[in-house]
């Protein structure tokens, strides 16, 4: 093979790793907040992503039927809408269920699993059991080809950019905003946070809803690279949990690092072996490392 070809493939493979990194990070981020910061094992995370994806579908259908002039531009609005739809749903779920369960983290797992079953059946009953395909703007679907033989997927670029924005936003919010301060205070010491006048209940609800909202954004973004159906969300849930756990649950930076590590591991091993074995190898590595280092890559430094 010519050197130029190898260079191209190398670059595209590097990009594949990066874009998988962005995907993993985006799906892990919401969970890192909900699971990492609050300790809620949100098994319905995938369904909140699906909710975001269906929001895109709704907007694309609306745009096609009523506002054909917006078919190229509705997407950005829809992503914001996806955030708010999932945010609202998360708000309700927190109010109805999660707030009663903060002292029983393992029970949040069962309850949210129930939520995820219910949401899946809702999608099936109200939207339909078949997959749908939102019509995406042309500018999103295609490749950017700087020179012959090198194709960079635009949807990959888009997801990366979005991930960058969302991650930046979350980091800023968590470390610079009042809300972030309240969240960190609540995580560090709930009774004390309460005592100094932080409304921890409100903070919890806000945090959970924001986590779900980010899941919605992730789901919306994934319509460019994946399927939209009642059970699409379940494809992501285990990966999302592993990303967060592997990174060290309480550390947002850890989530970033672990998403990067897992993405590179998987994407490189996939290039050299079959997809199934690559998956097994990646998962095994994660499990073995977690067995050796259960606190994850970046442990939170709290004295127990």
């Amino acid at each position: 093979m010519a050197f130029a070809d190898m260079l191209n493939i190398g670059m595209m493979q590097g990009f594949a790793g990066l874009s998988l990194f962005a995907v993993l990070l985006l799906m892990g981020l919401g969970l890192a907040i909900i699971f990492g910061q609050m300790g809620v094992i949100n098994m319905a995370h995938g369904e909140f992503m699906t909710l975001g994806a269906y929001t895109i579908f709704l907007f694309s259908t609306l745009a096609e039927s009523f506002f054909p002039q917006f078919t190229q531009s509705y997407f950005l609005v829809a992503i914001v809408a996806a955030f708010f739809v999932a945010f609202l749903a998360g708000w309700c779920v927190e109010w109805a269920l999660i707030r009663h369960l903060y002292k029983r983290p393992l029970d949040t797992l069962l309850a949210t699993w129930g939520v995820s079953l219910g949401m899946q059946q809702c999608f099936r009953s109200f939207i339909g059991p078949k997959e749908v395909s939102p019509t995406l703007p042309d500018w999103l679907m295609g490749s950017w080809s700087p020179h012959e033989g090198l194709d960079i997927p635009i949807n990959g670029l888009f997801v990366m950019a979005l991930t960058l924005v969302v991650t930046g936003g979350v980091l800023l919010a968590l470390y610079k905003s009042r809300w972030g301060l309240r969240v960190r205070a609540t995580v560090a010491n709930r009774p004390m946070a309460n005592a100094i006048g932080i409304n921890t209940k409100k903070t919890d609800r806000m945090t959970y809803a924001i986590g779900c909202g980010i899941a919605g954004v992730a789901g919306a973004a994934f319509t460019t690279i994946g399927s939209t159906g009642p059970t699409s969300g379940s494809l992501y849930i285990v990966d999302a949990f592993l990303v967060v756990t592997f990174g060290g649950a309480a550390s947002l930076l850890g989530t970033v690092a672990s998403a990067f590590g897992i993405a590179q591991m998987q994407s490189i091993s996939e290039f050299f072996m079959t997809g199934s074995m690559a998956k097994v190898l990646t998962l095994m590595t994660i499990v073995v490392i977690l067995m050796m280092r259960p606190q994850g890559l970046f442990a939170s430094k709290i004295r127990h």
Binding site: M12, A16, K130, V132, S133, T224, G226, Q266
Partner: protein, 419 residues
């Protein structure tokens, strides 16, 4: 589920017309209009659920779970066929009553429900299953309890049972002619095979590889890759394909993975303009999820496409849309599922009995001229003689039929030389 649970026929008159239209080519298929239905004691010697006015059949598909995406079409098509048969007076003068069971995308549940249908409900026939795994799970039960299963999906072959009629194509029927066509039309020499990691794609690829490399000597396989079910990231695979630079990518990826695969393929600049791609796993149903614009120009090898231009099919499509809405699409499996009740009806009437042994024996040689795909005939190995077609995906989600095998292809579930 709404669309199939609460069908809203627009106009009863139109629907009847439609059914009549479908029924037209059926005249002559069997003796219709017998004066009085034969006595139940005569047509049912094995204690099946048959009364003087009714015959009970089962329908066993996944209405929930991951497979509901695929199986919904089959559920609808079977129901349509049964409604049409009932509108024509039923089978041996008895209306068909359906017991619906949900296999819930879970193979043990399929086994449990099939036991229930056969042992408790004593149904005369079951229309159902979609995945190979669910069929494998129920097969011993059908053989043990002597039931009759009409299985609609194209599948890997390597199976033949007295108790099953396979209304979809087995692998060689679907694959070989398609490969020959692509080799001839596209002058393809190198092939890259990609599948989901389970039995059907693996067997299909095995057959394809043998065909390409040793039987028909079409060229060379330059890559063969399998991904776990539900895999969503194909960028590394696409790079592998780019390294291998095959003339043809031959695909058997299923489920949600399909969508990811084609979207990412398009995003990586692999479009129909630059690359020939032949799939055996994408029907009109899957295109709904993938999006026509992401598939446009690629080829699929199937026995049926919704756009097939013949009178039977036009009537079928119209009746289907009348029942399930104008947006409903019909894929290969949906059509094959539609054949099930009709083939069963013909076999029962030929046998003059609902008894499974007699129906199974009578099934061989049954012809069905009213099939939307054209003419089909049951082979002694219980598969169907059928044609294979190449469809080219269009942006609107339909396929344009660009080629059709001149003759019916013989089903060959245990192909010599391909093992």
């Amino acid at each position: 589920m709404r669309d199939h649970a609460s069908p809203k026929p627009r106009s009863t008159l139109r629907r009847h017309l439609m059914q009549g239209l479908v029924a037209l080519p059926l005249i002559g298929l069997s003796a219709i209009g017998q004066a009085a239905p034969p006595a139940t004691a005569v047509v049912n010697t094995t204690k099946l659920a048959v009364t003087d006015t009714e015959v009970t059949v089962g329908q066993l598909h996944s209405a929930t779970g991951t497979m509901a995406i695929s199986e919904t079409g089959s559920i609808q098509a079977e129901q349509l066929a049964i409604d049409q048969i009932n509108a024509m007076g039923g089978v041996l003068g008895r209306k068909i009553k359906v017991i619906k069971e949900d296999g819930a995308s879970d193979w043990p549940t399929f086994a449990e429900k099939s036991k229930k249908l056969l042992i408790n409900d004593r149904v005369a026939a079951v229309f159902g299953c979609w995945t190979s795994a669910s069929r494998k799970a129920v097969l011993p039960i059908f053989e043990k309890e002597n039931g009759m299963l009409y299985y609609p999906t194209f599948y890997e072959g390597l199976e033949q049972s007295k108790n099953v009629i396979y209304t979809g194509q087995e692998a060689t029927q679907q694959i070989l002619w398609g490969l020959d066509w692509v080799a001839k039309e596209k002058k393809a020499k190198t092939y890259f095979l990609v599948g989901s990691d389970y039995i059907w794609p693996r067997t299909s690829m095995k057959i394809a590889r043998k065909h390409i490399e040793s039987v028909a000597k079409l060229g060379k396989v330059v890559g063969e890759e399998y991904y776990p079910l539900g895999h969503t990231n194909f960028n590394s695979l696409i790079n592998k394909i780019k390294v291998a630079k095959p003339d043809v990518i031959f695909i058997a990826v299923v489920g949600g993975s399909n969508v990811s695969f084609y979207k990412q393929l398009k995003a990586a600049g692999v479009t129909a303009a630059k690359q020939t791609l032949l799939t055996i796993s994408v029907t009109e149903d899957e295109v709904l999820g993938i999006g026509g614009e992401n598939m446009a120009g690629f080829y699929a090898s199937m026995k049926y496409f919704q756009s097939l231009d013949n009178a039977n099919n036009k009537a079928f499509v119209q009746a289907f849309k009348a029942k399930y809405g104008a947006k409903a699409v019909i894929g290969d499996v949906t059509q094959a599922a539609y054949l099930g009740p009709w083939l069963w009806k013909a076999a029962v009437e030929k046998a003059g009995s609902f008894d499974v042994d007699k129906v199974a024996a009578a099934s061989v040689g049954i012809e069905f001229k009213g099939a939307p795909e054209g003419y089909v005939k049951v082979h002694p190995n219980h598969h169907l003689w059928s044609k294979t077609r190449i469809g080219q995906a269009q942006a609107d989600g339909q396929f344009k039929v660009v080629a059709e095998s001149p003759e019916l292809i013989e089903p060959n579930p245990f192909p010599k030389g391909y093992q």
